[in-house]
């Protein structure tokens, strides 16, 4: 086979943002009234839209049989790229040439209907993903066995546990046999054992000579599965190459971006008496860090902005989630017995965590503050940080990756 299986040339995708708009959709009524208004008030400064390039002049080739990981921060354009490749959204510029049948798996269980039974949903979902009836029938037993739902085949999926639901959905998708498979972050579901199974299946698919494009925030999965990787940043290609090299470049780069601006976040609640405007990690001596490290002291620093005074009885909390969105722990000055009686004129809040007990991985956090018993600022999924592996116990050893998500100090005694 000569030539690349996927060739992307100068690809661009523009979205138009509507600032004023609160609802996700337009109403003709609003469009008409907006037009009518602008007739009488012709100043253009009121323009309520701005352009945003989710992908900008992107060019790369993918060879047949490559297993390509696509990495980048949230909003880097990874999902948009997959959607363009899957022909779900139209590009604004450029050109993509694909030599072969491409199937995409952007969501687990697309089109599943809760009222239908497991058996019916297998057929329906298979058809939606582009399988023919014959193909599905041929793979039916395999799918059922993989999902481990034999006993519930004729039960409506609305009665399934969420684990069963996800297993069934993934099982159908995993048995697709296109030449090119595009997978978005779908492994971030289900329990750890099932994830391992999924990863194994993905690897099997990939080893079968098929081309796989895989988006994930799970660097371990990318490393495990992909031969090459592409690093996207703000819609542009930063590096393409061997997975290890690209991952190194990515981690180095995200380091400098560990400082996060939160001031523009619109999705917050609260009266705004205090607002979180920025975040960065530092070590004990105040030196900025790109990532925390297991076992080393880390300080979470927040820039805060007071919008009113006086600030009395100030409570602050930070909830930390793992990459699967599972709440791991909650840091709160109320629980720690350190509620601030007053906080007027303060600009920075720090939370010091000696010997960070988190394992390596990506974490996200939610922020909360209240002043005088009223919610001042509540920012769900405010940001994230990375933890690199470190020698928590000082013994040079750590438990195996699948043995839990955090470390606990302990000692053994024999008597």
């Amino acid at each position: 086979m000569s030539g690349p299986i996927i060739r992307v040339e100068g690809l661009g995708k523009r979205f138009t943002l509507h600032h004023k708009q609160r609802e996700r959709y337009t109403a003709l009524r609003d469009v008409l009234s907006e037009r009518a208004r602008s007739l009488f008030r012709p100043d253009k400064s009121q323009a309520s839209t701005s352009d945003f390039w989710a992908l900008k002049d992107l060019s790369f080739d993918i060879q047949a049989g490559d297993r390509v990981g696509i990495i980048g921060r949230n909003g880097a354009g990874k999902s948009t790229l997959l959607k363009v490749l899957s022909r779900i959204v139209d590009p604004t510029k450029g050109r993509v040439t694909i030599e072969g049948r491409l199937a995409s798996l952007l969501e687990v269980g697309t089109g599943f209907h809760p009222e239908l039974s497991g058996r019916e949903n297998i057929y329906l979902n298979g058809a939606i993903l582009g399988m023919s009836r014959k193909e599905i029938t041929a793979k039916f037993d395999e799918i059922v066995a993989f999902a481990d739902v034999e006993r519930f085949l004729d039960t409506p999926v609305k009665r399934y546990s969420s684990g069963m639901y996800v297993r069934l959905a993934f099982a159908v998708a995993a048995h697709l046999e296109p030449e090119i498979l595009v997978v978005d972050e779908v492994l971030a579901v289900g329990d750890a054992e099932f994830q391992r199974k999924c990863l194994g299946k993905m690897k099997e698919v990939a080893m079968g000579g098929r081309t796989v494009l895989f988006v994930s925030h799970n660097m371990a999965a990318i490393q495990n599965l992909c031969s090459t990787a592409i690093y996207l940043k703000q819609g542009q290609l930063i590096t393409q190459g061997a997975t290890a090299d690209v991952l190194t470049a990515y981690l180095k780069d995200t380091g400098s971006a560990a400082r996060m601006d939160l001031s523009e976040r619109p999705d917050r609640q609260g009266n705004g008496a205090i607002r979180f405007t920025g975040f960065y990690l530092s070590d004990e001596d105040g030196r900025e860090l790109a990532a925390a490290q297991s076992g080393a002291t880390v300080v979470f620093n927040f820039d805060i902005e007071a919008r009113s005074a006086p600030l009395r009885d100030v409570k602050v909390a930070m909830g930390i989630d793992d990459q699967y969105g599972q709440r791991i722990t909650h840091l709160s000055n109320e629980v720690a017995g350190q509620v601030f009686a007053q906080a007027d004129g303060m600009k920075r809040l720090s939370i010091r965590v000696p010997r960070c007990p988190l394992r390596n991985g990506n974490y996200t956090f939610t922020l909360f503050s209240s002043v005088n018993g009223e919610i001042a600022d509540y920012l769900l999924n405010a940001g994230g940080f990375h933890v690199e592996s470190g020698d928590y116990f000082g013994t040079g050893r750590t438990p195996a990756e699948d043995q839990g998500t955090f470390f606990v100090d302990h000692s053994f005694n024999l008597s």
């Binding site: 003709l28 590009p91 939606i128 030449e179």
Partner: protein, 281 residues
């Protein structure tokens, strides 16, 4: 990799072999139609009866109105049959139009996650309504048997007029479906069109009441003929009752032309906006 399957994605290019793709995805079309039917019959306790009860009640009401206002029926043909012959296509139009118009928004989760020719969605809803029509046709058969009425040879034309009904509902449905993606206030228009349509479509009355009435100004008659469903209903009656329900050809021509034009506008507008559905929905 012997069979070359090349796809080129460019702005606005759409798919080069869109209609071929549509054919390839026919399996999905059938599955979606089957899903809608299966879900409906699982959710409602009366199930299949639903396809019978609705037209029955409508027939009853329309029969009463026609009788009340003294609409003309030919000698020897029971009014209920005349009304029934119009209610079936009307019901087909009403459900197929409103389901089609809502089909994209109702399946937005599919639109944003999977590629397939988007026309699959409205087509599958039309298919569901067509199956409902087949069930409802049984009512007609039973009523005819009850009144011992046998239709003439014109009945072979019935499929043509079913197709005409399909054309008018699909045309209007596609247009509203595509507009509804961008401007969500179109959904308020859907029930209004269905309700208004029932008043101006010859269900309780017949087209002869209109065209044959010297008191109605000519201009108004032409306006009446602009309703695409006039041709479909007149055709249904002609197919079932033959010469006793003659077709008014000018009215029929205007009405069916409007159906066709609507279908063309519907498909063109749908195809033109289709590529942006996932962005805006």
């Amino acid at each position: 990799m012997t069979a070359k399957h090349r796809v080129v994605i460019e702005p606005g290019s759409g798919s080069q072999n869109y209609w071929g793709d549509l054919w390839q995805y026919r399996g999905l079309l059938l599955f979606l139609a089957w899903r809608d039917l299966a879900v409906r019959y699982k959710q409602t306790t009366i199930g299949v009866l639903w396809a019978v009860v609705r037209p029955l009640l409508t027939i009853g009401a329309m029969w009463f109105i026609g009788w009340l206002f003294g609409s003309n029926v030919p000698e020897g043909t029971p009014r209920i049959l005349i009304v029934c012959a119009a209610t079936l296509p009307w019901q087909f139009f009403a459900t197929s139009f409103s389901e089609t118009a809502n089909s994209l928004v109702a399946n937005s989760n599919l639109l944003t996650k999977v590629y397939f020719p988007r026309l699959i969605l409205p087509f599958s809803t039309v298919l569901v309504s067509a199956i409902d029509l087949l069930v409802a046709l049984l009512i007609m058969v039973v009523l005819m048997a009850f009144y011992a009425y046998l239709p003439g040879p014109e009945v072979v034309l019935l499929p043509v007029f079913i197709l005409l009904t399909l054309v008018s509902s699909l045309g209007a449905g596609l247009l509203i479906a595509a507009l509804n993606v961008k401007y969500r206030d179109f959904r308020y228009l859907i029930p209004f069109i269905v309700q208004f349509g029932l008043y101006v479509t010859p269900v309780a009355f017949t087209s002869q009441d209109v065209f044959g009435n010297p008191d109605i100004p000519e201009a108004l008659k032409y306006l009446y003929a602009c309703n695409p469903m006039v041709a479909a209903v007149d055709g249904f009656r002609y197919a079932l009752f033959g010469a006793s329900q003659p077709i008014h050809w000018v009215g029929f021509g205007i009405s069916s032309c409007i159906s066709l034009v609507l279908l063309i506008i519907g498909i063109v507008y749908f195809r033109r906006t289709e590529r942006g559905f996932a962005d805006t929905i």
